[in-house]
């Protein structure tokens, strides 16, 4: 009998629901039945409600079954799933599943297809084509390509990547660095983690291209300690890329050197802020630096440093291999290309959805997400992590675009979307935002350090009610004033953006704060 290849993901989201146990059950059951089996541990396709999503390679293509538990394995084999036969868990040809088929996967093109640590599999799907081309170009041509693509920082700040690189290129310094911010601490985001676990070479390739562009010979990837599988995957991928000549003394035959290493973070959310991250890599507490000087001029160890997020780097290879125009043809307005969105929280079909900018929240929540997992109505959607605004239903048709979101007092951020049903209490979530800021503040600036604690107290006084209407409205006024101070007076985005979730909750869901309306509204003067 011919050996059958079966794919069982090893992404954390699959491991956390028993993928290892499923792989083991398959091995044992097939051995017992004398069925030759080749198990490949692939990345995740990002259809996370179906994990563990097991795929069988059949002559007609890969057929998916999910979510599979170890107890399902004997029944699947009885039904003939190794030939792609019908079964209650059969999802059909994986690439025809509408959730996946309707996406525009550029950065995530290879996600879940193969063994993430196989260089030959990576190269078979256009891997290292961007770096090979970059190795033949001069630095200014690489930067021009990235500038023309319209790529902006995917970590949340949306700064044009090509302009940042040009600044580093032109800066004077004996040593330049490329640093990847993989301190993905935002609740509701996991695209960095998926990339590092499921397609680590694309990050390496993007960073190597950056190194050639800016003239750096050393690079670091700063990864959260909460992501042990991503750290292991990156370390192994770096070793293999170096052995294959894509890192090291002569990057892809360019004659330039670039060495890359992983730095493990230690559980401080504020280290996702770029200057706090640099302090941390230097071996210090993650205290935010004042800007200027920009890290592009004086960054890691005081040297010119190109810092980008995982997804920004991972978007670069396809820009180099397919050209700037190909990439900028996706998107709307000044938001070019695609964004890997992460649909999370109380959602029926949560997962990774890469789409061109311009998609709406309503499409994502209902057409992809199928509404809440609880089956209750959606009440609020937080976009952009703990520092992002709660977006009410009246704004769900606004196209996802950096400028359009900024105009409504929200932020696209890192593309994390957290859905809450109608049991959510937005005053509690606003209080949590302030509490979280108090826990994670680095303590350098007063608005963030003190303001966050005072914010918790003021919200408690508002929601306690009981007092006179006038005293509650005074407290609301105080909260707004405090948010204004934090927004305008904080040193970094942590203190400056915590007002987004707090004020959006207050403005759009005042009933949750138990706001008592005055019996006779004050007459306008």
């Amino acid at each position: 009998m011919k050996e059958v290849t079966v794919y069982v993901p090893k992404d954390s989201a699959a491991l956390a629901v028993g993928a290892d146990e499923v792989a083991a059950a398959l091995q044992v059951q097939c051995a017992t039945r004398g069925l030759p089996l080749n198990v490949v541990r692939n990345g995740s396709r990002g259809l996370l409600w179906l994990e563990p999503l097991v795929e069988v390679a059949t002559p007609g293509g890969r057929v998916a079954y999910g979510p599979v538990t170890p107890d399902d394995v004997p029944g699947l084999l009885d039904a003939g799933f190794l030939e792609g036969a019908p079964h209650a868990l059969r999802q059909g040809a994986v690439e025809s599943i509408p959730y996946l088929a309707s996406q525009e996967r550029l950065t995530f093109a290879r996600m879940g297809v193969n063994d993430p640590l196989s260089i030959s599999d990576y190269e078979a799907l256009d891997g290292f084509a961007g770096l090979r081309r970059a190795a033949t170009l001069d630095a200014s041509a690489i930067i021009e390509e990235v500038t023309n693509s319209g790529l902006r920082g995917r970590g949340g700040a949306a700064f044009p990547t090509g302009i940042k690189w040009k600044t580093v290129r032109l800066a004077e310094g004996p040593q330049k660095y490329v640093v990847c911010n993989a301190d993905e601490g935002d609740s509701g985001t996991f695209s960095d983690r998926m990339t590092m676990e499921g397609d680590p070479f694309v990050l390496i390739e993007g960073m190597a291209i950056t190194a050639l562009a800016v003239g750096a010979t050393e690079g670091y990837i700063y990864v959260r300690s909460e992501y042990p599988h991503a750290i292991a995957s990156m370390n192994e991928a770096i070793a293999r890329a170096e052995a294959a000549g894509f890192l090291g003394d002569n990057v892809a035959g360019s004659g330039e050197a670039f060495r890359l290493s992983v730095r493990k973070a230690a559980g401080a959310y504020v280290c996702g802020e770029e200057t706090a991250m640099l302090e941390s890599i230097e071996g210090k507490r993650g205290i935010v630096r004042s800007k200027p000087p920009l890290p592009a001029l004086q960054g890691l160890f005081g040297q010119p440093t190109a810092i980008n997020n995982v997804i920004t780097f991972a978007s670069v290879p396809i820009i180099l291999s397919r050209g700037a125009q190909f990439y900028r043809d996706y998107g709307v307005g000044r938001s070019r290309g695609t964004l890997p969105l992460q649909l999370a929280g109380n959602i029926k079909y949560g997962g990774l959805i890469e789409k061109a900018f311009g998609v709406t929240l309503r499409q994502l929540i209902y057409e992809y997400g199928g509404g809440t997992r609880s089956g209750r109505p959606v009440k609020a959607v937080q976009v952009g992590g703990p520092l992002g605004a709660y977006v009410p239903e009246s704004q769900w048709d606004v196209p996802l675009d950096y400028e359009a979101y900024a105009a409504m007092g929200a932020a696209v951020g890192h593309g994390g979307i957290v859905v809450h049903d109608d049991t959510a209490d937005l005053s509690k979530l606003a209080r949590y935002a302030m509490e979280y800021c108090a826990i994670e503040s680095c303590g350098k600036c007063t608005p963030c350090r003190i303001g966050s604690t005072r914010g918790v107290e003021v919200i408690d006084r508002i929601t306690a009610g009981g007092g006179a209407v006038s005293s509650q409205s005074e407290q609301v006024e105080l909260l707004r004033s405090l948010c204004d101070t934090m927004l305008n007076g904080s040193l970094c985005a942590l203190g400056a953006m915590i007002p987004y979730p707090v004020l959006s909750a207050l403005n759009h869901y005042p009933e949750d704060f138990r706001i008592v309306e005055p019996a006779h509204p004050p007459v306008a003067s």
Binding site: T189, E226, Y227, Y269, G286, Q342, A344, N346
Partner: protein, 158 residues
């Protein structure tokens, strides 16, 4: 708690292996904690001496980062995510249940020192919450029933 001679050697080896690492403090602290489970006070003193830092600076770094421990952990550490995505699918109730179940309702450690329950802010499993880790193993789509099975298994082990 004194560092045994063997532990002392482990700390010396870690320091030695990072003699040419730029910004070596965090990598050293990670490796010491990986080897010993926490960073004992004497280890911190030796690290400070080796890196030409003050003890206060090293103490400052250890206490700034949530991940580093200055005390030995419980035999089994359960970390429950309480960030927004997990909150939206019942993390608050889950963490109360886990604390209650493992005897950690009033303090971080259970009275017998076997268990500790800690909050964690995002494990990157936001579409499959609520999520937790038990001794660094990930578990998602957690329910009280599923946790009961895991907790019984833990109790059998220890």
């Amino acid at each position: 708690m004194a560092v045994s001679l063997v532990d002392g050697d482990a700390v010396a080896d870690v320091i030695e292996s990072h003699s040419s690492t730029p910004g070596a403090l965090l990598p050293i602290l990670h490796e010491v904690q990986d080897a010993l489970g926490y960073i004992p006070r004497d280890a911190a003193v030796r690290i400070a001496d080796a890196l030409n830092l003050s003890r206060a600076e090293v103490h400052g770094v250890i206490t700034f980062y949530h991940y580093f421990r200055s005390e030995p952990p419980a035999r089994h550490v359960v970390q429950v995510c309480r960030a927004e995505a997990c909150q939206s699918v019942g993390a608050d109730a889950l963490i109360s249940h886990v604390r209650e179940r493992l005897g950690c309702a009033k303090q971080a450690h259970s009275a017998d020192g076997r268990f500790s329950v800690e909050p964690v802010y995002c494990l990157g499993l936001c579409a499959s919450g609520p999520a937790l880790t038990i001794d660094e193993h990930l578990h998602a789509r957690m329910t009280q029933e599923k946790f009961e099975r895991l907790a019984s298994r833990l109790e059998e082990q220890s």
